[in-house]
């Protein structure tokens, strides 16, 4: 098999390649932000007139809260009652599984094709 000779890439084209990569990377970082799909935030459910007992804190916990600079139950209530929402839809989960598996499938398939070429050029045809 004849060895593959790559074309020589012009300087401009090389610079464009780098810019394309960077634009895509920054895009992936900011697109979820623009679409307002920020990561899951905690929500607090602060009761009226919170007390340490009402928040389920024992004397040792109260002592530690005080040492940390939270003098009253009202100061710490927002931190104590903050919870994540872990509910999700099965459909979303399926979409994610398909995307992850599909991604690796594409990469492995194309890699395999390119790899055969590399091996047959390096070691000669069988």
């Amino acid at each position: 098999m004849a060895n593959y000779i790559p074309p020589v890439q012009s300087k401009i084209s090389q610079i464009i390649d780098v810019i394309v990569l960077l634009v895509l990377a920054v895009g992936a970082l900011y697109v979820p932000l623009f679409l307002n799909l920020v990561g899951s935030a905690q929500t607090s459910n602060v009761p009226d007139n919170p007390t340490w007992e009402g928040l389920g804190q024992n004397p040792t916990m109260v002592e530690k809260w005080n040492e940390l600079g939270y003098a009253t139950a009202a100061d710490a209530a927002e931190l104590i009652t903050a919870r994540f929402d872990y509910s999700f839809s099965i459909l979303n989960l399926l979409v994610m599984i398909v995307v992850v598996v599909g991604y690796y499938a594409i990469v492995l398939r194309f890699s395999g094709k390119e790899y055969r070429e590399v091996i047959s050029e390096k070691f000669g045809d069988k």
Binding site: D17, T60, L68, A76, R83, V100, Y103, L108, F110
Partner: protein, 471 residues
């Protein structure tokens, strides 16, 4: 471009036949330990505690150990493959030889983005720390930007000047930060006559049940994220087949100890609701211990840990970028080595403005998530990598510096744990996950249909290995 060709008999660019310039081969196993642990240890000082917020104190411990198993598998698998593929680029070069060019390109990008984002996150934290110190001395409204920029510029300069000084610096400040954690544990748990630890009173049941344990895996990775970076130094250690497995495995043991101690001291001093949202948990722990010495020690430790991490990140990201340039996966301009300092100087320079843009412009949690996800994609690649490696080159075909035991059990465990972690990330950051995978899919198509035409085929396979089985 030089006229060397790896398939040529007179001028193959190897050893005496044609190479004038390569990376300096000066590092020992201790540097590898410093590089690996240095990148990660910052995770003990901040970030791991979000796992507590995700699922409670016990969930964080379980996540710590599950992630510990995940990373032990990563370290063993990596050690075996790297002890045979001793080249800058680490996992990228492994993928190129074992799986194929497109996978290698993806892995290279995981590495560069995981490390550059982590570097940015470290610089942001460094600025925040300086601001905190200024606030404690009564100065309000400090401009953090000059300190963020200074940390990146200084470390870039250090990296530019040579790898030995860079990693010796990492080694020293990492060792200090690690000793600070040990000192905190020993003084609170052992030496203080009236121990401030209150585990019995402070521990609660799992607030989210077992789902919280799964969710905690997302930040469980923080205890160890980046240990695989030791492979990047492969081309610069004096004896890769020995130093890499030794440094990496010693590193993972150090981290397992540090992670468990950190957890133990922190949950014994703080209610989990506070710990789960704390910015600098170990510093808080020192504050609660009531000892001024410990406070100063852990404060300095926190600062050193961020610097060591950013330092290792610059080192690793530039090696991966350099290796891809050298193979024409990226413009070959990046494949240059500084004639005096023997560093991949153009890659180091190129990544500085990018790190600055992320550090000054992007929100911290986005940056961290992008970094974790890139890391996770890389860990998912590793089991496939090692299974193919053993299949294409069984144990009796090439000599390995280290053989990992019980193959293929570590690979299967690693794959399962990666699946769990994908689910944990999905629980909080599903849209980011899909956005990132879309990025990698688009980039893969771009590489396969456009960029790969500039890559020489056989020349990228540089290891003196026999023909792989089945090809």
């Amino acid at each position: 471009m030089s006229n060397t060709d790896i398939t040529s008999a007179e001028m193959d660019g190897m050893g005496p036949k044609g190479t004038k310039l390569g990376l300096a081969r000066v590092l020992g196993p201790a540097h590898i330990w410093g590089l690996g642990v240095g990148i990660v240890l910052v995770g003990e000082y901040m970030g791991w505690n979000f796992a507590v917020g995700k699922g409670g104190a016990y969930a964080a411990l379980l996540a710590c150990w599950f992630a510990g198993i995940l990373y032990s598998c990563v370290a063993m698998i990596d050690s075996e493959v790297t002890s045979t593929v001793a080249a800058a680029g680490g996992q990228y070069t492994q993928a190129k030889h074992i799986v194929g060019p497109l996978m290698a390109f993806n892995v290279g990008l995981y590495l560069v983005f995981a490390y550059t984002m982590l570097e940015a996150a470290n610089a942001i934290t460094f600025g925040f720390l300086i601001d905190t110190v200024a606030g404690m001395t009564g100065h309000e409204g400090l401009d953090q930007r000059p300190f963020i920029i200074l940390s990146i510029m200084f470390l870039a300069w250090l990296n530019y000047r040579g790898v030995l000084a860079t990693l010796t610096f990492s080694l020293v400040i990492t060792a200090f930060a690690f000793c600070a954690i040990i000192a905190l544990f020993l003084s609170t748990a052992v030496f203080m006559s009236d121990s401030p630890l209150r585990h019995v009173e402070l521990m609660t049941d799992l607030p989210y049940g077992w789902l919280g344990v799964l969710a905690a895996m997302h930040f469980g990775l923080w205890y160890y994220l980046g240990i695989e970076g030791t492979c990047q130094a492969a081309e610069e250690v004096r004896s890769p087949a020995r130093a890499l497995p030794f440094g990496t495995l010693a590193g993972i043991m150090t981290l397992l100890i540090a992670a468990t101690l950190t957890w133990y001291v922190s949950v014994g001093l703080m209610p989990w609701e506070y710990l789960g949202q704390a910015g600098v948990p170990l510093f808080d722990a020192a504050r609660l211990s009531g000892s001024m010495t410990l406070m100063v020690l852990l404060g300095v430790g926190t600062m050193f840990a961020t610097l060591a991490s950013a330092n290792g990140c610059i080192n690793d990201a530039s090696r991966a970028w350099f290796a891809m340039g050298r193979d024409h996966y990226l413009p070959d301009w990046f494949g240059a080595v500084h004639p005096k300092f023997r560093t991949p100087y153009r890659s180091i320079i190129f990544l500085v403005p990018i790190a600055l843009v992320f550090a000054l412009g992007a929100p911290l949690d986005q940056v961290i998530t992008f970094s974790i996800l890139s890391g996770l994609l890389g860990y998912t690649f590793m089991p496939m990598n090692v299974i193919l490696f053993r299949r294409k080159w069984p144990l009796d075909t090439i000599k390995r510096g280290y053989e990992h035991p019980f193959h293929p059990i570590p690979a299967i465990i690693l794959l399962c744990l990666c699946g769990v972690t994908f689910f944990a990330v999905f629980l909080g950051y599903g849209s980011q996950l899909v956005a990132m995978l879309s990025f990698y899919i688009i980039v893969s198509l771009w590489f396969h249909f456009w960029r790969y035409r500039f890559v020489r085929r056989a020349a990228q396979f540089t290891m003196p290995w026999p023909r792989p089985r089945g090809y």
